[in-house]
Symmetry: C2
Subunit: 281 residues, 2 copies
């Protein structure tokens, strides 16, 4: 049995960590956007046992996706084949998108008859367990520029959106950041939660894309998550009339406008903001 | 100032009316789907006063859309130009889609800085006030095959989805039904609520597209909303291996498969299920 599903990538601009003993209720408040680029997954389910995960033609560990497979299809032999057209480990929510597309595809392949939220919940819980993300999955079920007002898995967390068009987002990748490492650092967490709480409060007063960009930059600065090079790039973009900040969590600068300025710092890629949530193909 | 927005059409298969003194909390439980066809609206806002609503090149009353304009732009002269590519007054949620696209476009044109849910709430409340719909707006903000688990406007109501692909929906239009008339009939309301409550409970046990079609048909039969011709068409579709029911509320039979059978009863149009919610263009 072979089934395909898609989940969009998701970049968070700022966030607040919301701990909870129940993993379905744990997550984050914050704001981010999905892109018209993401993860296409094909699962093949056969009699037997064993899990193989192949991402962009390489055999990988992909612990979050494996958790999803163990939860939904432990009695089968499962091959997960994902094509990811965004960088991995750089704040594009690739682990969430991989897990979410896998959950949707497996539920369909095995006729588990899970609702959309129930399948997505498995991916959300897998992210929490593996400390690979907090709020990507719920955003990836919606698509658009998503305000995560209350934390939790799809069906539990509460979201709103900033009305947006097909805005072009330029980005430059400088390197990876381990979500696990940042979330394991108590001091960093305190700074994140302080700055995140302020940012979300300010955003709700004026939920516009310009305000989102501004608050994201302030958050990246105030939490010291942005490197010196990052600050330099953001300033260069602003001097050309653009707006920029850093993907949470990855050494990635995303920008509206400022293409020429970004080019000085590396290879620039451009995607439009997406409006689709994850879905079966 | 000229701004464009789009909202998808939405067909409900079954529903339960949920009264509430607060119009934001009033609405319906039920299930339906959006189509890859809907309403594209362009609003033009100028100094002055007066509202004109033009749908498919004809000046019309469009009370729900007018309510939205009065709420958001009472101090301006507003022209609303909507292109609707589904039948009006036939259970495609055209009034909700018109109101929702108008609310999103006006909020942007006037820089009201409303969040997506706040703009959509205006459309939901306008539908309730004008008795033109109960649950279309919240479904139209999501896109897909939407289970309305709890009633209310976007941000208040709770939804889940049935995971679906780009399924083709064939339909035949037999005539209009006034939502206002049905919602004003106490006996009809009792039947709807009894059958609707059962249908939603059954759907949640097995949220699949096949179960949705089956429960929709049962609901249309049990509430006596389906005409004799409707029953005849549904049976003809089923005898060809398809599944069919009636749009709530319109004399429209929608079907998965059964194209040849439908052709015997009128002109058949086909749209795919959509996955986008309403958005700015």
């Amino acid at each position: 049995m072979r089934v395909r599903a898609y989940a969009p990538s998701h970049i968070t601009g700022f966030f607040e960590i919301c701990e909870h003993l129940d993993q379905r209720h744990m997550g984050s408040r914050g704001c981010g956007f999905t892109l018209q680029a993401g993860v296409t997954t094909e699962v093949t389910v056969e009699e037997g046992e064993g899990i193989s995960v192949i991402i962009n033609e390489a055999n990988v560990e992909a612990p979050t996706t494996r958790s999803v497979v163990r939860r939904l299809a432990s009695e089968y032999s499962v091959e997960v084949l994902s094509k990811i057209d965004v960088p991995i480990g750089c704040g594009f929510g690739a682990s969430g998108a991989g897990a979410l597309s896998t959950a949707l595809a497996l539920s369909d392949a095995l006729s588990l008859n899970l609702s959309y939220n129930s399948a997505a919940e498995v991916a959300h819980v897998a992210e929490i367990e593996n400390k690979t993300g907090l709020g990507d999955v719920i955003a990836q079920t919606h698509g658009g520029m998503i305000i995560r007002r209350e934390p939790g898995s799809p069906g539990i967390g509460k979201v709103d959106k900033i009305p947006v068009r097909d805005v072009e987002i330029n980005h430059v990748v400088l390197g990876e950041i381990s979500t696990k490492d940042v979330l394991g650092d108590k001091r960093a967490k305190r700074q994140i939660n302080l700055a995140g709480k302020i940012a979300i409060k300010e955003l709700l007063k004026r939920p516009t894309i310009q305000n989102f960009m501004l608050l994201s930059k302030r958050f990246a600065m105030d939490t010291c998550l942005m490197s010196d090079v990052g600050v330099e790039i953001v300033e260069a973009v602003e001097s050309c009339g653009g707006m920029a900040s850093m993907a949470m969590l990855g050494e990635v600068i995303f920008a509206i406008g400022g293409y020429e300025a970004l080019k000085e710092f590396g290879s620039v890629r451009t995607y439009k903001i997406g409006h689709y949530g994850a879905r079966l193909l």
